[in-house]
């Protein structure tokens, strides 16, 4: 078993900020992530509100800089690594990875962030990239002059719809409520576009393929009646979920939505286990707030050591 002073699970802004502080304090630091470093920031086109950058910086560049900074001060990384076993208690903390090694930490910081929510219905995974998409800027052009569904009614769904309207012939929005949750100014722009129609109080239950077209089976939540409609593609924007399922069999306290509960010093109910960033229960989720969380967790640990 390899021992570290601190194990950080998650290499987004919260985890990387913590790694920079902890490694600079000359504590041995291991950063683990199931993907590459950078979290959601690396997929953000331009970041314009991160202090210190007068001109917007590409998200992948900002993320790369954070990772390089942590590495420069001695943090070690295990990326594209799956956690196969995890033990978190007041007395002992270790992580087992798919390299079949076990890593123990005096302290652990959970900074796994959040991810776009999946509908988790039949056909979603099967047709990903073949009719089901999650990104208007990436895949909108494949649907030029075509008819599509947009699933969701929040800010991201409406903002992405506005982008899609530059390409497509029509959009049918499927939304579970009888009004949109998006900011009114954006929602109005979508609703007033003649190419848009909305199915209120409906939820998709399954996706099918019929020759080259996609079929959505949607349930009317008021009547429970199901209908099947056919379009050329489906774009899904239904919010974010915390990446905390790996904590389900641990004693870490989560909210009913899966966010990790901490005190103001970022410590969880388990002594020596901290949480930082979007995975933590809090009101505001920004790159800057994640960096702040990571910094607080790191300073608390440094203080205790």
């Amino acid at each position: 078993m390899q021992k570290f002073d601190v194990i950080i699970i998650g290499a987004g802004p919260a985890g990387l900020a913590a790694a920079i502080y902890i490694a600079r304090a000359v504590l041995s630091t291991l950063v683990i992530d199931e993907s590459s470093a950078g979290g959601q920031v690396k997929t953000t086109h331009q970041v314009a509100n991160y202090p210190g950058f007068v001109e917007p910086i590409a998200g992948h560049e900002l993320a790369g800089n954070m990772r390089n900074q942590a590495e420069k001060y001695g943090a070690e990384f295990k990326l594209a690594a799956d956690i196969t076993a995890l033990h978190l208690s007041n007395q002992e903390k270790w992580v087992e990875l798919d390299d079949e090694n076990r890593y123990a930490g005096e302290f652990v910081i959970i900074a796994t962030g959040s991810s776009p929510r999946l509908l988790d219905i039949p056909g979603e995974q099967e047709y990903k990239g073949n009719g089901v998409s999650y990104c208007a800027t990436c895949d909108g052009e494949f649907y030029k002059d075509k008819d599509i569904f947009v699933i969701g009614g929040g800010n991201s769904a409406m903002e992405e719809s506005l982008l899609l309207l530059q390409f497509v012939k029509s959009i049918t929005v499927i939304h579970q409520f009888d009004k949109l949750q998006a900011e009114k100014i954006t929602a109005d722009k979508v609703i007033m576009n003649p190419k848009v129609s909305i199915m209120w109080s409906h939820e998709p239950r399954a996706f099918y393929k019929k020759e080259n077209r996609m079929v959505v089976e949607a349930e009317n939540l008021k009547t429970n009646k199901r209908i099947r409609l056919e379009r050329d593609g489906i774009f899904i924007f239904v919010g974010l979920v915390p990446n905390s399922t790996f904590l389900k069999n641990t004693p870490i306290q989560l909210t009913k939505y899966g966010y990790v509960i901490t005190d103001p010093q970022m410590e969880t109910n388990i002594r020596g286990v901290y949480a930082a960033g979007d995975v933590r229960e809090k009101r505001h989720r920004q790159i800057t707030t994640s960096v702040g969380d990571g910094t607080i967790a790191a300073l608390e640990i440094i203080h205790k050591v």
Binding site: K128, N130, C135, T137, D139
Partner: protein, 113 residues
């Protein structure tokens, strides 16, 4: 131009030469977008773990990308990036849209084992 730490494929000849001279090749063809960047990042990490596999990326908007776009395996693809796995010069797997590290490793185990 893709800003990654992978070697880029910039011409059809380069890709043909690569797959002719290497048993295992993986090419991810896309843009610097939110679905593509994670796949490039995973490739960057996996190229250290799997030195026998040649990992490359390719800009979807250069003329040479036609060699990927016209593949029969990509006919029904509507999501970037298009990721193609070649073994002994032949396409053995193609995926569309974002893939997790777990999914990429699973494909590698399936087609390159």
């Amino acid at each position: 131009m893709l800003q990654t730490n992978l070697e880029h494929i910039e011409s059809e000849e380069q890709l043909k030469e690569l797959i002719e001279n290497n048993e295992k090749v993986a090419v991810s063809c896309g843009r610097m977008g939110p679905m593509c960047i994670p796949v490039y990042g995973i490739f960057e990490i996996l190229q250290e773990k799997y030195p026998d596999i040649q990992f490359r990326d390719m800009d979807f908007d250069i003329p040479a990308a036609a060699i990927i776009k016209v593949l029969p395996e990509c006919r029904n693809f509507y999501g970037l990036p298009f990721t193609i796995y070649y073994r002994n010069g032949k396409v053995v797997k193609a995926t569309s849209s974002i893939q997790s590290a777990k999914e990429v490793k699973s494909v590698i185990d399936e087609v390159f084992a």
